[in-house]
Amino acid sequence: MSGEIAEGLRLVATLDLRLWQIVALSLMVSLTAVALATALGLPLGAAVAVVRFPGRDAVIVLLNALMGLPPVVVGLLVYLLLSRAGPLGELGLLFTPGAMVIAQTVLITPIIAALSRQAVADAWREYEEQLRSLGARGVGAALTLVWDIRFSLLTAVLAGLGRASAEVGAVMIVGGNIDGVTRVMTTAIALETSKGDLPLALGLGMVLIAVVLLLNAAAFLVKEAAQRRYG
């Protein structure tokens, strides 16, 4: 076992090309998905927090429930959507990184939306009277709010990123784990473990954990600095 860990470390340290290609693709897919999911989920969450409309409670419950979507189910749905006979089959996206981005975006948009809704709703309770007194309404008020708590919203985005970079099921189904094309860290770890190539699996596992740690540390530092700066 210790020999395998050492070999894993060697792969990481020697910048093994195969390993780093996989890492790069993982980051590209998950970061793109997070960017898209933030663009969709954050305004959605903010709108649900601030605007009153019929069925709002149901939407909130739905968003919260969708946070727990199983990745394999999302993978299956996106697979059906993108498969040759599916509604979006003509795009030919199945088994490409594009399909993986779509699946992860579907998976984490509810997470980012639900967590932003909560953060914005809490802030709205504090700000509402003051903003309405000053004459801020609707979209303008929501934008003011989102901008003011932007560093808290970072937590929602990070939760989405954590989910995206850690899941296996969705990218496995819609990406197919094709070597050099759609193989990402999690699918590679699953495959190499079942093949018995533990050093590569361990090396990837270490990189995965390190990436997640680094991103969270960076976000933490940004939040701390902002807290000191703006109160």
């Binding site: 504090e126 700000y127 009277e129 003051q130 903003l131 309405r132 007194s133 000053l134 004459g135 801020a136 303008g140 003011t144 003011d148 708590i149 902002a226 700066r229 703006y230 109160g231």
Partner: protein, 225 residues
């Protein structure tokens, strides 16, 4: 002129009993009453933050009004930017210069570029008053603006409120602080369990309260000034 403000049979749930009231321009009005008497709700109804359950509320004409709350809410930006934000929402021109003048007025010009949220409680409340000052409101509602401040911060706030009064802004202030009511008020509207029990000039109210409720309130509150 935005005033007079007319409340006709105005009610809010079981907090404000139907009340009819007219707030005229000129002398500053103190809304006095114990905790839970409905002062804050009445202020919010008048300012338009709450919709009445029944009754009518009408201003003579459209005009600018502002409100300062017990706990000021500041955006996470500089003191100056907080005032500029209010001016921009009001569609004012030359916002930055006006905002600086308002900060000057409340003695915060030297803190203009500090983040508003790291200012002290008293400074934040002065900033809230600067934000209102910049808008040149015809009516200023104040909801217990010094309830969570120490005596020296309270004095500073009271000085600024007097400046509003002197500049022609109609001041309508809710408080349960009798000393403050006497220092800043011209007339008192005494609220008890959601009803206006008494309305009188300040001196008359404190020297010869006409109702038993008001008399008891003045007596009971005196040791707390």
């Amino acid at each position: 002129m935005i005033l007079p403000l007319k409340l006709e049979a105005l009610a809010f749930r079981d907090i404000i009993a139907p009340l009819t009231l007219e707030i005229e321009a000129g002398p500053s009005t103190i809304i006095l009453g114990a905790n839970g008497a409905g002062k804050s709700v009445l202020m919010r109804l008048m300012h338009g933050l709450l919709a009445p359950s029944s009754g009518r509320i009408s201003w003579r004409s459209a005009g600018r009004q502002a409100m300062v709350f017990q706990r000021p809410v500041m955006l996470r930006r500089s003191a100056l930017a907080n005032v500029v934000y209010a001016l921009e929402l009001a569609g004012a021109a030359d916002c930055e210069r006006q905002a600086l003048e308002a900060l000057e007025e409340v003695g915060l010009a030297h803190l203009a570029h500090r983040p508003a949220r790291v200012l002290s409680g008293g400074e934040q409340q002065r900033l809230a008053l600067a934000r209102a000052w910049a808008l040149h409101p015809e009516v200023l509602f104040l909801d217990e603006p010094t309830a969570s401040l120490d005596p020296s911060a309270t004095r500073e706030i009271e000085t600024i409120i007097k400046a509003f009064d002197a500049s022609g802004t109609k001041v309508v202030m809710a408080t349960h602080n009798l000393g403050q009511a006497q220092r800043l008020g011209d007339e008192v509207i005494y609220l008890h369990q959601g009803r206006v029990v008494e309305r009188a000039p300040v001196e008359a109210f404190f020297s010869r309260p006409a109702t038993a409720e008001a008399a008891a309130f003045i007596k009971g509150e005196l040791p707390w000034i």
